[in-house]
């Protein structure tokens, strides 16, 4: 039997009737057309599906949408503000933090939580913070540098970092599903 699930994603509230077995990642991708959140494995290991729920990052392939009734979700689509990249996105751009880009949305969403909780992380803390996100391409060096870049620039107040739990952007789903 379908259940009505109401979620606020990147500031917009959506209501959809879905089967309870619908995983959050499928809700985002298939129901809302927000395909920035990736699926990289079947074993809850890779973190490509990382999103933020009520300010906490989690693997959206390992939570049912019904469980999160009423939650505030932020995905990679909600980060940029009025066409301006979030400092972490900018960091990945500046420091070449990606190659194929498959892990990148998850990696960036986890980095948002990391810097929210610890604005001045050491290299070791950064590496520990992204332990749940696998990258097959970069060898992580440039990912660490990208996060360091973001921490530095955010702290110098050059760019403003939006609250992870309260995005003010009005997202346009990439492919709206009727």
């Amino acid at each position: 039997m379908k259940k009505t699930v109401k979620l606020t994603v990147n500031g917009t509230t959506y209501e959809r009737d879905v089967e309870p077995r619908t995983l959050l990642v499928h809700f985002l991708r298939d129901e809302l057309g927000l395909t920035g959140t990736h699926i990289g494995c079947d074993t809850s290991q890779c973190g490509a599906c990382t999103v933020s729920v009520n300010g906490q990052s989690l693997k959206s392939c390992t939570a049912f949408a019904v469980q999160l009734q009423g939650a505030e979700v932020m995905t990679i689509e909600g980060l940029a503000k009025e066409g301006e990249l979030h400092p972490i996105q900018q960091g990945f751009w500046e420091m070449h933090g990606l190659q194929c880009g498959y892990c990148t949305p998850g990696m960036i969403m986890q980095s948002v939580q990391l810097l929210d909780r610890n604005p001045n992380p050491t290299e070791e803390e950064i590496r520990r913070g992204i332990e749940g996100n696998l990258c097959r391409c970069t060898g992580y060096q440039n990912i660490v540098k990208s996060i360091q870049w973001a921490a530095q620039h955010k702290n110098q107040g050059q760019t403003e970092i939006p609250e992870a739990s309260a995005p003010k952007v009005d997202p346009q789903p990439i492919a709206p599903v009727p």
């Binding site: 309870p20 077995r21 809850s44 973190g47 693997k59 939580q113 332990e131 749940g132």
Partner: protein, 290 residues
């Protein structure tokens, strides 16, 4: 992969949840952090027809210390345990454990109650909870009961919880003066289950081992204590030769199997080495070194 179909309930009280478990019997499963259950459902290793989501029940997430116990609510997330100052300062073995479970994303969701109720020999909490000689508080239709941890794990993925019982709380006895503990885990790569893990909790008195409990991870189908090694140490003076012997005894009494994490001999040898290291570290902590 997509899990099989199920009907979903989100009770808001323990008694309502127990009622649902009673009504649906073996078809129902509790959903806590979902970090073991959902992966199993995605592989259709588990196909419950009813899920009873306990995350909407208030008052099951806490870490607090009373005169006798550290009390931990079953729904407390690993990330909260890892960050708790009482845990870091007074129960360092528990902090050691939460820190090495999975990865930060999984730890935001995973609960200590789920980790114990799942009774996976590869899970890390069972060994530490055995070493702490903890008590498990369960609630069923007839009310609450306390299960000593030595009676809790009864088989692979099997505990002494009844089908209509909920694990509510974990009680860890406050360690007396002169106590220390440590959990050491060997993993192939970050975020993986243990090849081997050893939990040691001990109390020293007048320079001798007054008491010691050793829990082992992933070297037996049911989470186990290294009882022979414990017996060897109690009443003795701590010294290298004795630690060495205890390591050998623990290596002999565990029951590992060969798998992708290593051969049986390799795992036994790791138990030998890691047991020694964990004893040394627990003694350091008993002497006030954190």
């Amino acid at each position: 992969m997509i899990p099989g179909k199920f009907e979903y309930f989100a009770p808001t009280s323990v008694s309502e949840a127990i009622g649902l478990l009673g009504q649906y019997g073996s078809e129902a499963k509790i959903l806590a952090g979902g970090q073991s259950l959902i992966p199993a459902m995605r592989f259709r290793l588990a196909q419950p027809e009813i899920l009873v989501d306990i995350n909407r029940i208030q008052g099951l997430e806490y870490v607090r210390e009373t005169d006798d116990y550290l009390e931990i609510g079953a729904l407390t997330r690993e990330s909260a345990i890892e960050k708790s100052t009482i845990v870091q300062q007074r129960y360092p073995m528990l902090a050691d454990t939460a820190r090495v479970i999975a990865d930060p994303l999984v730890r935001n969701m995973a609960t200590i109650g789920g980790n114990l109720a799942h009774a996976d020999p590869a899970n890390d909490h069972p060994a530490t909870i055995l070493a702490y000689n903890a008590r498990i508080v369960a609630e069923g239709p007839g009310g609450e009961r306390i299960i000593p941890v030595d009676d809790f794990f009864i088989g692979i993925f099997e505990t002494s919880l009844e089908r209509d019982e909920i694990l509510k709380e974990i009680l860890i006895p406050s360690p007396p003066g002169g106590s220390g503990g440590a959990y050491l885990k060997i993993e192939r790569k970050v975020g993986d289950y243990a090849v081997v893990g050893v939990a040691v909790q001990l109390t020293m008195e007048d320079g001798l081992f007054k008491s010691i409990r050793i829990g082992l991870t992933n070297v037996s189908s049911t989470p186990m204590r290294a009882r022979a090694a414990e017996a060897l140490l109690v009443g003795q003076t701590p010294e290298e030769a004795l630690f060495d012997k205890a390591g050998r005894v623990a290596a002999a009494e565990c029951e590992p199997w060969a798998d992708l994490r290593g051969s049986e001999e390799y795992k036994r040898d790791l138990v030998r080495v890691v047991t020694k290291r964990a004893i040394r570290k627990a003694i350091e902590r008993a002497n006030g070194v954190l």
